[in-house]
């Protein structure tokens, strides 16, 4: 399906958010996720079914003031 991952279009053969993270190189990473602007807790990723056109945000710790 076609998705937006951190603003960039990706084509992924996955069904859940957890699978997308694994496929895109985020396995085991310290990240937080949101889909279409809504926070999806880590515990819910495996059961979160993605749909064509979903916008997925994957955020990680970064420098801040």
């Amino acid at each position: 399906m076609k998705l937006l991952l951190n603003g960039a279009p990706v084509e992924a053969s996955v069904t859940t958010l957890a699978e997308l993270l694994e496929a895109q190189g985020f396995g085991g990473a310290k990240v937080a996720t949101a889909v279409n602007g809504n926070f999806v807790p880590a515990a819910m990723r495996a059961g979160y079914a993605l749909s064509d056109g979903d916008a997925v945000e994957v955020l990680a710790p970064m420098q801040g003031g």
Partner: protein, 257 residues
């Protein structure tokens, strides 16, 4: 020093983690200053370079309290969602809540700030709101559930120091029991000392240290200034007066005309 949501801090210096020349210099700035709180943020991660993972290891090794921010958020929804993501990643309920309302000054949108603070406080967050020195807004933030207030000294990154001494002094007097932190606008250690002399509990700064020629030395200088200001505040400073008052006793002075 007043505790921050029940957490006492060893000193009144909170440091940002952005804009340092290198991760090693960042770590050195924390080491030399003894700053007990590090502000951090969340940004998009790449599955290829996973830059955030190395940064997280660096921060964990500092062994300080982590204060995630919602920097760059302009709406209540954006700030609240970012706060939830930060709580999960950084495993803390502390959140430095920023809802930016104006681009040139990065002044907080205080209406959105109060609303976001209420939503987050009700959800168990311990909110550190980046606000102005407005007493009415401050009161509304406290009613929304905030137990700490962080008024700006001057616009973020400006280095202008304490722009509204009257307003900040009034804030300290108006909320004697609330932990108050000067957040943003400090450029020099003397300004941090001034904030502490006014009775503030801590200062939070980033650019003044990170953009100094020697960030670690500047961090240490800020730590010393914070300590000096804090001791001075506890020592009950004298009241200023307009006219001179001789400090050397006049009685016993020789007549030599």
């Amino acid at each position: 020093m007043r505790a921050f949501y029940g957490t006492p801090l060893a000193n009144g210096l909170m440091l940002g983690t952005a804009q340092y020349p290198s991760p090693a210099i960042l770590a050195d700035a924390f080491k030399r200053s003894g700053a007990g709180v590090a502000t951090v943020s969340l940004r998009r991660e790449s599955g290829q370079d996973r830059a955030g993972q190395d940064f997280w290891t660096l921060i964990r090794d500092l062994d300080v309290h982590v204060l995630p921010n919602t920097a760059g958020c302009h709406s209540v929804k954006e700030a609240v969602t970012t706060a939830h993501m930060a709580r999960e990643v950084f495993e803390t309920s502390w959140i430095k809540l920023e809802v930016i309302g104006e681009e040139d000054t990065l002044q907080p949108d205080v209406f959105g700030l109060v609303e976001a603070a209420r939503i987050l406080s009700e959800d168990g967050f311990q909110v550190f709101p980046y606000t102005t020195e407005d007493l009415v807004v401050a009161d509304k933030l406290l009613h929304a559930g905030c137990e700490v207030l962080m008024p700006w000294g001057a616009p973020i990154g400006s280095g202008l120091g304490l722009n509204n001494l009257f307003g900040l002094r009034a804030m300290r007097a108006h909320f004697p029991d609330v932990p108050l932190v000067i957040d943003a606008g400090l450029g020099l250690p003397s300004q941090a000392a001034q904030a502490m002399e006014l009775g503030f509990d801590a200062v939070l700064l980033n650019t003044a240290v990170a953009k100094a020629g020697d960030p670690a030395a500047m961090a240490e200088a800020f730590a010393m200034a914070v300590q000096a200001g804090q001791i001075a505040a506890q020592a009950d400073p004298m009241e200023p007066r307009d006219m001179a008052a001789p400090s050397t006793p006049v009685i016993g002075k020789a007549f030599l005309e």
